[in-house]
Symmetry: C2
Subunit: 339 residues, 2 copies
């Protein structure tokens, strides 16, 4: 291999990303100098948040510049190095981009990882990575679940949702999961231990609200929200007093050209003295290690199941990314760049 | 006076309340027995929240039953009594209804009040009542304002909004108020000490967002929200990191038949790790006395100005109530029943 293939942002998507918004470029493998090093990326994380970074809009990170690779968390191996701390062969977790080789400058976010104890190094992008940490801190720190409380998870068959449902069960809660289609709903019950699975497909907001109401006659104490739109509005119609809504993602909105729906039923927040928390995990960085150990323990005890949906080859980056929005992935979507 | 005139809910309003939704009934003055007493209501509070109670929808209080008087907080004098604690001539604050005489059963919310230290007993419906307490606890307890922070108040010329702006200034904050029309904006600066007044009339959400952005280039730390719709959406586009939004009211939505707008820009909550709190004051009941003393002190020191908009006579209950929604009131709307 002497070529570095890179998946670049060629223009900003309008609504649904199109193939023409991206470009697969062949470039030279970079050479490290003055403390930088080069990583051979083995796995890249594909996440709904990447869609937001493609827009030229104010966010918690700057927009991806046109001509830059799509920003992504990756797991890889140091390929060449001008940094004494990162030696050739070290496994690392980085925030770089969807490209086969990345030049990592000193001071850029990166961490050495010990891949000996996990089934695959890709776990540092799923259960041991942002997915597991998001579920862990979002549910436990923001949600403050108490045994016997009811937790509603939307996008429940997704990467974060499935982790949240399982941690809620570990903490003694009753769990209701919402997902699209009978097959996913079956997985909610069988694979992730949800008490109730609700299929949102073909249902109006009112029908969905009624179905949640039947499953939670006393209201839901916590909503872990990944989806937005009608699904969030239906959840809002079923709040218990002082309910906490963890706003983690709004995947139904990210490609919506006609404008955002947001949450039409926020008046219910007043009625129930409920709180909606915009959630990002970086605030908890100092506690990632503690959470990682707990997640690793649950994994080893068989209390937590992490599913990964792995697609192969940088040439498949576009179709793999789009599966996030059509709900075709089963588990954390990962692009494997080295087979 | 031997007749009790009562302002009843005759049918549930669809959108804007119409005169036919109400009925002015003449009934006998009730007679107390077994611990109940009768209050001659001198003042009734008119509040946007009453619109919500007219709907047959889940809320923090049951809907007003058809044929019942419009539920209201009132200030009045005990007229007759079968309760040793409430003697004829005592001034009381009650949650009864818009009617000239109310029968108050034992255990129903009521409190004796000392009207000797206030300019008018009606102050127990404004500065010393729910309006003052809502501003006090909403801003200070939920908002946690710090000196130098920026506080955005919507419906800023209204009863609650004007109190919030003034308390925020007392606490050393920079205040931006949004109101409708040049006259109200002038009052924001002159009467309530806002640093910036923004007139929302004739402006799109984007224009309003831009204007807030100019007034708060580093974002707003606290939004005290009374209005909703475009005004809330514009505020959401200007959040500082970890901003707190106190959701107190959504008056622009209460008569909206076509469906609610809610908050389209809640994605900004995620971007800024912001929190939206549905707020009701009853949680703070144990601390009402403490807050009342503080408010009374600010009033006596001239640090806090409370405006009341008093309309007269139960026959004017309907037009007085409707002024809340057209923004015609200047200060807390109160219906005086005894002149």
């Amino acid at each position: 291999m002497t070529v570095n293939r890179r998946f670049l942002l060629a223009r900003r998507p309008q609504g649904d990303p199109a193939p023409q918004d991206f470009q697969l470029q062949e470039a030279a493998i970079p050479t490290p100098s003055n403390g930088s090093f080069v990583v051979r990326n083995h796995f890249a994380s594909l996440d709904p948040a990447q869609r937001g970074w493609m827009d030229d809009a104010p966010s918690y990170m700057p927009p991806i510049a046109l001509g830059d690779p799509i920003r992504a968390t990756t797991v890889g191996v140091v390929h060449s190095s001008a940094n004494d701390e990162y030696k050739i062969g070290d496994w690392v977790l980085c925030l770089t981009g969807i490209e086969e080789y990345s030049l990592v400058e000193p001071g850029h976010f990166t961490a050495k990882i010990d891949v000996s104890g996990v089934p695959s190094p890709s776990y540092f992008l799923s259960g041991m990575g942002a997915v597991g940490l998001t579920g862990y801190f979002g549910l436990l720190e923001v949600g403050q679940p108490q045994p016997g409380q009811t937790v509603l998870v939307t996008g429940a068959a997704g990467a974060v949702g499935s982790v949240v449902g399982q941690i809620a069960k570990i903490k003694g809660c009753r769990t209701i999961g919402i997902a699209g289609g009978a097959k996913k709903c079956e997985r909610l019950i069988k694979d992730y231990g949800f008490d109730v699975a609700i299929d949102y497909r073909g249902k109006t907001m009112d029908q969905l609200a009624e179905e949640i109401g039947k499953a939670a006659p006393n209201g839901v104490n916590i909503i872990f929200e990944n989806v937005g739109g009608n699904i969030l509005d239906a959840g809002l119609m079923n709040l218990a007093k002082k309910a906490r809504i963890i706003l983690c993602g709004l995947i139904s909105e990210y490609n919506n050209k006609e404008g955002r729906t947001g949450a039409r039923n926020i008046w219910q927040l007043i009625v129930h003295e409920a709180t909606m928390h915009g959630f990002l995990i970086m605030d908890y960085a100092a506690r990632f290690h503690e959470a990682g150990l707990q997640i690793a323990q649950w994994l080893s005890e068989g209390k937590l199941r992490i599913d990964e949906h792995v697609e192969h080859g940088i040439e498949n980056a576009y179709p793999a990314f789009m599966k996030l929005f059509s709900g075709q992935n089963e588990g954390k979507m990962i692009l494997q760049l080295v087979d």
